[in-house]
């Protein structure tokens, strides 16, 4: 089986954000993360491309992403002051979108920095 090798991959486990990692991956998992530290290795090797979880849950029951998105929008829109929190382990592209959403909702946006 051929391995997919990614050079200069970036590790987003901690704030150092090393970008010289060499990843070796098969279809489903990363089997080697060269140059990564102990924390980085654990981060890369602990995620897989397998379908381990349901794509979405509503009140604990399996649902489609479409249903979950629609219901999430309803809940957030119905709230007076919704909170958008976290932001630290998602991409900048997602963060930008999240700030725009919080603004439209008239809610609060906050990150781990406030802890």
């Amino acid at each position: 089986m051929s391995l997919n090798i990614v050079n200069n991959a970036t590790c987003t486990f901690c704030g150092c954000v090393c970008d010289d990692i060499e990843l070796h991956a098969d279809e489903e998992r990363i089997i080697e993360a060269k140059k990564a530290c102990v924390l980085g290795k654990a981060w890369f090797l602990n995620h897989t491309a397998e379908r381990l979880y349901p794509e979405a849950l509503i009140d604990g029951k399996e649902a489609t992403v479409d249903e979950a998105v629609e219901f999430a929008a309803e809940l957030l829109d119905a709230a007076t002051t919704p909170l958008v929190y976290g932001m630290s382990n998602i991409t900048c592209e997602a963060q930008r979108e999240a700030v725009g959403l919080a603004e439209r909702l008239g809610g609060v946006v906050d990150s781990h920095t406030s802890l």
Binding site: N7, N8, T10, D19, D20, C92, R96, G100, E103, R104
Partner: protein
Amino acid sequence: MLRITGGKVYDPLHGIDGQIRDICIHDGKVVDSVDGGRTIDASGMVVFPGGVDVHTHVAGGSINFARAMTPEDHRRTVAFIRSQTTRSGLGGMAPTTFATGYLYAGMGWTTVNEAAVPILSAKHTHEELRDVPIVDKSCCVLMANNEILLDLLEQGEMERARHLVAWQIWAAKAYGVKAVNPGGVAAWKWGNDAKQMAETVPGYTSLTPAKIVTGLAQIIDELGLPHPIHLHCNNLGAPGNISTTLETMKSLDGRRAHMAHLQYHSYGGDDWSTMRSEAPAMAEYFNQQKNLTCDAGAVLFGDTVTITADGPWQHLLYKLTGRKWGNLDVENETGCGIVPYTYRPSNLVNAVQWAVGLELLLLIDDPWRIFLTTDHPNGACFWRYPEIIQLLMCRDFRQECVTQLSEKARERVHLPDIDREYSRFEIAIITSAGPAKALGMPNKGHLGAGADADVVVYDEDEDIARMFGHPRYVIKGGEIVIEEGDIRATPEGREFLVQPSFDREIEDFLRPLFEETYTMSFENYPVEMHRIERPEISECIDVST
């Protein structure tokens, strides 16, 4: 399609000085005629080409650091409430990105040049520029303290240096090259500075600021960049620094250069207590140097935040004021200092600075070579430009302001003796036609057929600051973006880039050095094209002619 009819048109590039003309717009461009579409009746109104800011700091690590450092200002400033067409934002000393676009467009400025971008964080700058709506953008990449480049200049390896500069411009997706305190910021990494043009830069054996300036200016001309070297001289802000500035200009030896915020480089005196304006001497010399353009970097009294790659100067300013100080070192490339500041008429130094900016604007005789800037946010915020226009157009108002200065300050400046008043035609040059020409943007700064349809329509008003602060209509790329004081549309702006040619082998030279001295992967260094909003690559030109 759009026709603006009956207005007094000021289009300096075509010598149109207030004559009544129709401006026709089709497909985002000015055209000779249109058939149909909306007509704006501009009878009794004034029509200008959209403003062009040749030197401002609106996006990237340094202004964003300034935003973080000034929450107290955000709370007292104008807030933009979100609407269905606009994002929310805050104005003030360091406006948020969305507000920056609305504020510029709101006073009729449609093109801005972000003047200081390190390659290492250029991705950040471009991401921010994407969030500055309406206006078109370009940026200048910082070079004069890049240690890999400085080594080549010291060794006299000009050929290789040229390929490196071209590679770096493209890596940063920049439009021009900015040199800030050549050699001085590199020395600041060791707590030093470089103040004399002919003295060796600390850490080097023979490299001087003068060699950096001339080497870079030569390379930029050889590459044929549409905008010449954008030069922030050594010894900024210091009493007596006119000698450094004149020496820098002489070392250019007839080569093209744009002298940034000349106000900060035109002082006499030996120390803070004897500091005085040397604007007349500066203007006299500058008037003869047809190879040079400059921008004013004018100061207005009030609160602002100063941000500059000139790290050592900012440390001095922190020591002088005792206020907050932020410092950013950008590895081997450059740095940045941030200090909030209040310019006061009662302060002798501030009074001199205020006068020098205006004196240069009034004493440099060719408006095509000096442009209106405040080096935003350093001298004042860009949204105060209308106040400067009033000071330039109205001698009586200016003299009234001079009376705020102490008697001692009035002896150090020349403003009270200057009677010149700018005409509207000249204002259109220093705010639009001139900077567009200096930036090498042939479709900006005029209203002839083929120009980008960036047009401002002002109500005639005796109150000059009000007139220029509140245009009746602003048209950007043919679209009405401001009408009757409301933001009507927020189109994305374009970004101008240049792609000078270089030998790919320069990467073989650069890669090992980079891997030895930088903390990131070489492959992750250049800005990817997909980060640029609506890129438009400008052609390089033949400078030798």
